[in-house]
């Protein structure tokens, strides 16, 4: 009876997880997602706790109680810090999988060496490799996103890196073979610990060479790895709930990574081994071109005449904490009967979907957040396109200049609008380190200054004008 209830709970948990992800298809049903997911998790935890062999309750209660504080803290970080939080959470997930794998290995080694079938040993090795490499890799990714000083933002590359990585990979493969062949010899635990050390090293060796701009793809991939390590744990423990939940997570990370790669016109291989940072510098040469700049007052006067305004936000908007000012601008334009839409590039922000959350926090209705593919056909109808803190994602060079490092990347076609205003902090090039053709177009006027201050000025001029 007990075994039946436990398995039935696991089955219900699996179904609830699938429903949870299914309801994320629409913001209207999404709130049910959390309830379904949390209920599934509660069932899983309780069912496991009620297993007959689980008797040391204090060993369960204490870690759970200790987790409440950090859990609450990580749930309440500012939304700009969500990418780092996500990376840390992947690190925790990887650590948990790695430690459970380690615990199982040593228990079997000492107590039940007959458990080491080839299948289980292979699964166990995959579990600790994926778990521990996700742990260190995610910590480095979190450090890069948090812009911690001693972790370089630029790709970290050195001569012979490929050879070192290849050698490390070959060594790991060799150690893995040894352990599968002889999991229970006196020296086997030594091999096991070497594998853990290799995995911990792999994590940072894989993420350090990847630049800050590619972190959205990297955290999606690490998301996938964290899920796959749970799958491997399911194989080791013969638990189908672990396998299904891990597989759902693994496929989610994979799809997000593919979307990110497409949005940057990069391949997986290129992100992971490309070291994007090196080629970028070349195109910064060329003749010195002139910007036309404009004051916020005259820009406001032009905005007032528009019927359709599209705002293209980039991460610079969040850095300047300008979301709430942008919402004020949105409100005062709406009050004049002007249609305002936001054009969201998939890589605007620092993780998949990040910009939507930042704008939703400022209470901008999600119905006015429009995806790149949807808004591009209408861009020629746009009277004024206001670019706030975005750069590479509106650079027309991506569409026609074959020598540009971002050539082929899909962009928001801001250049098709009748008038373009671009708010920019300084005259330096953007994240990818390249000049933006859009800024030199006849139709473009630059508004130099901090995004929050400039948008504030626009709002003030608009409301000032409204009095007359």
């Amino acid at each position: 009876m007990q075994a039946f209830l436990i398995e039935a709970s696991y089955l219900a948990g699996t179904a609830l997880f699938i429903f949870s992800l299914h309801w994320m298809s629409d913001p209207k049903t999404a709130r049910k997602s959390v309830a379904a997911g949390a209920l599934g998790m509660l069932l899983a935890v309780l069912a496991t706790w009620f297993r007959p062999e689980v008797t040391r309750h204090l060993w369960i209660i204490i870690p759970i109680v200790l987790a409440i504080g950090p859990g609450m803290w990580l749930a309440n970080v500012p939304l700009t810090a969500v990418p780092q939080r996500t990376a840390i959470s992947h690190a925790f997930g990887g650590l948990a999988a790695g430690l459970v794998g380690t615990a199982e290995y040593f228990y079997w080694f000492h107590m039940e060496p007959e458990m080491f079938t080839s299948f289980r040993t292979i699964a166990l090795i995959l579990e600790i490799l994926l778990g521990f490499l996700t742990f260190t890799g995610s910590l480095i990714a979190a450090g890069k996103l948090q812009e911690i000083k001693w972790i370089p933002q630029r790709p970290w590359v050195y001569k012979g890196q490929q050879a070192v990585n290849g050698g490390a990979f070959a060594l790991t493969l060799l150690l893995g073979f040894l352990l599968v062949l002889w999991p229970d010899r006196a020296w086997s635990p030594f091999v096991f610990i070497l594998l853990i050390i290799m995995a911990l090293n792999f994590g940072w060796m894989l993420v350090m060479p990847i630049g800050g701009a590619d972190m959205p793809t990297v955290i999606a991939i690490l998301n996938s790895y964290a899920g796959l390590s749970a799958v491997a744990m399911g194989f080791v423990l013969d638990n189908k709930l672990l396998i299904t939940a891990g597989a759902l997570d693994g496929s989610s990370g994979l799809i997000l990574a593919i979307i990110m790669c497409k949005a940057m016109n990069r391949s997986f291989f290129n992100v992971l081994f490309g070291a994007f940072g090196q080629v970028k510098q070349q195109s910064a040469t060329g003749e010195q071109k002139e910007y036309k700049s404009e004051t916020p007052e005259s820009a406001a006067a032009i905005l007032e005449q528009a019927n359709l305004v599209v705002i293209v936000p980039g991460y610079g908007l969040a850095v300047a904490q300008a979301q709430h000012k942008v919402r004020e601008l949105y409100d005062s334009l709406k009050k004049r009967g002007i249609t305002v839409k936001f054009a969201i590039h998939p890589v605007a922000g620092r993780m998949p979907g990040h910009m939507n959350v930042l704008l939703a926090e400022a209470e901008i209705p999600y119905t006015d957040l429009i995806e790149m593919e949807e808004i591009n056909p209408d861009m020629s109808q746009v009277d004024v396109c206001l670019v706030v803190g975005a750069n590479d994602v509106v650079n027309p060079a991506a569409e026609h200049d074959k020598t540009s490092p971002i050539y082929g990347m899909p962009i928001i076609q801001a250049d098709k609008a009748r008038t373009i205003f671009a708010i920019k902090r300084s005259k330096n090039p953007g994240f990818a380190g390249i000049d933006n053709e859009l800024y030199f177009s006849d139709k473009t006027w630059m508004l130099f200054g901090d995004a929050k201050a400039v948008v504030g000025e626009l709002v003030k001029s608009l409301s000032g004008g409204g009095m007359h």
């Binding site: 992800l21 062999e53 997930g93 997570d249 979907g353």
Partner: protein, 105 residues
């Protein structure tokens, strides 16, 4: 060095089947997730992949394990519990922010 007995071979295959089918379902479901919600999706799957908690509870609380193994399980339990709590709470927090024009007023 063989794949053990016939009975357990069958079981391995059924696990691999489950993995494959769950991956296909995952891909099918995730592809339909609104792009607006990719960030909450990631924090939600974070919480769901903390299903590693199942292994952690078994190792931390299982009768048969010696203390040094139990300690590893307890740390793993702490890590996955942190992910469960923060993952669901932050997803809820973000989803609450997504409003239509009527709701925003």
């Amino acid at each position: 060095m063989t794949f053990a007995t016939t009975a357990s071979t069958i079981d391995y295959w059924s696990m691999i089947f489950v993995f494959m089918l769950a991956t296909f379902i995952g891909i099918g479901v995730i592809r339909r997730v609104s792009r607006l919600l990719h960030t909450p999706l990631m924090s939600l799957t974070n919480a769901i992949s903390a299903i590693a908690v199942v292994g952690a509870i078994i190792v931390a609380g299982g009768e048969q394990y010696p203390t040094y193994v139990r300690v590893l399980g307890a740390i793993a339990l702490f890590a996955s519990m942190t992910n469960i709590i923060s993952g669901f709470l932050i997803t809820e927090r973000m989803l609450k922010m997504f409003k239509t024009r009527e709701e925003a007023k």
